[in-house]
Subunit: 279 residues, 2 copies
Amino acid sequence: MPDFAQSIQAALSERFGERLAVDPALPGLEELSRLAARRVCRRYLPREVEASLLRLLCACALSAPSKSDLQQGDILIIRDKAKRQSIGALLPDMPWLPEAPVFLVFLANGRRLPLIAQMRGKPFPNDHLDLFFNATVDAAIVLATFLRAAEAVGLGCCPISMIRDHARVIADMLALPDKVVPIAGLCVGWPAEPSGITARLPLGLTLHEERFDEGDLGQQIESYDRRRDARRPYRNQRQPERFGRAEFYGWSEDKARQYASPQRADFGAFVRAQGFKLG
Amino acid sequence: MPDFAQSIQAALSERFGERLAVDPALPGLEELSRLAARRVCRRYLPREVEASLLRLLCACALSAPSKSDLQQGDILIIRDKAKRQSIGALLPDMPWLPEAPVFLVFLANGRRLPLIAQMRGKPFPNDHLDLFFNATVDAAIVLATFLRAAEAVGLGCCPISMIRDHARVIADMLALPDKVVPIAGLCVGWPAEPSGITARLPLGLTLHEERFDEGDLGQQIESYDRRRDARRPYRNQRQPERFGRAEFYGWSEDKARQYASPQRADFGAFVRAQGFKLG
């Protein structure tokens, strides 16, 4: 039997730059080891994902908790090759997208609840930010839970949030009705090649006790940039013609450059056009 | 060794009213069986959750994927009894809240990214809906992943989205700065009493193939109401003084009544006051 406690410790140390205590007598260590060593998968074997298996995994994902039991997260399965290629053509920087045999789209469904109110002859004075928010959170929880189910059986996945860069085209292609919007896509397939573990911000920034306290943000970002770079430096710098060549190019420089241009500035307009009010 | 394939099938049949195929030769069936039989836990043993264990589970949760690697979901741990009681006092219908030894709050953190832009001397033309949205989805994914980690080691959890009914008080109590908002809370403890499996909408409504298709919504809701009622009828009807006594009181009637009154109509104002723009 593999030493799960040790592999968890190794993965989390690589992830957070911190040696965490792991009690080897804990139950569930195998599952924790998958969580700790979680990695994206962008290369897939030319092997189908059986429809019955996919349905099983979706059912497991849809067993996740849901805000007030409202069940506002849906899954849309795309297997059709032409459709996957059309989506892939929108995102040419992600050549692995159409190569995955299955592409899922996770949907925030704020449509059912007002329809149910109507069906039961009740008023619905809740057409405001909360409706959109609850459906979004539900869909994200379904996505995260699907990931766990898929990885448990050995599948590899790659989330594609950039489908929202083309939200209108995607919504039309998938016939999304009013008050249904895509949260993210997910490539699913049998892994051909494992990716590496992505280093994460130190827990000093993302884990707070009793009250919000990020400590010295600048210093922690700096040391994260360095830790990450030591393991896996960026191969390319974004927009050198605009920003020049950085001598040291870390995560924070990369993210600052990425978001120095408008990203999905029309997403609010799309969400409103889909019938959500964000007041 | 327990027959996981059989227990998964039984749980999902109870959940969705459908017999799903489960290949007994699949790896990861133990994990799938936990997902399939997932249930909320509202009664806890008077036993601490060790700080080191909690830190380990949070690290596993924070290993989840994050939109563009931006890492905008944070966790805030509350152990302090007085603080848990103050939060519990806001939600007197949830007496189990202060009884859980640990209360977590999952935070959408849209603060770091603009600070990083500033730190790196870059413009940040992305102060619109996308910032709030990405941070919200990240935080929800961290929450769902934490749940998997906690249940793997035998802990029980109960999500509390209703903390957002008191978002301003909670934000002040936890010293949340600008552009940080709570997504949901989570009670965590060692389970004293298992709850039942909650029935879910049929997959015909929540799982779509190739395009959005909910089929006959009315008929499927109706049959879900009946299936759910046969297993666990509602004990109380909401607001009978306003809506009368329904002869048959199912899920859709309950949800229609719940949302016939404004819920968190001030949430948008709160999010804006925290500095997010939703344009």
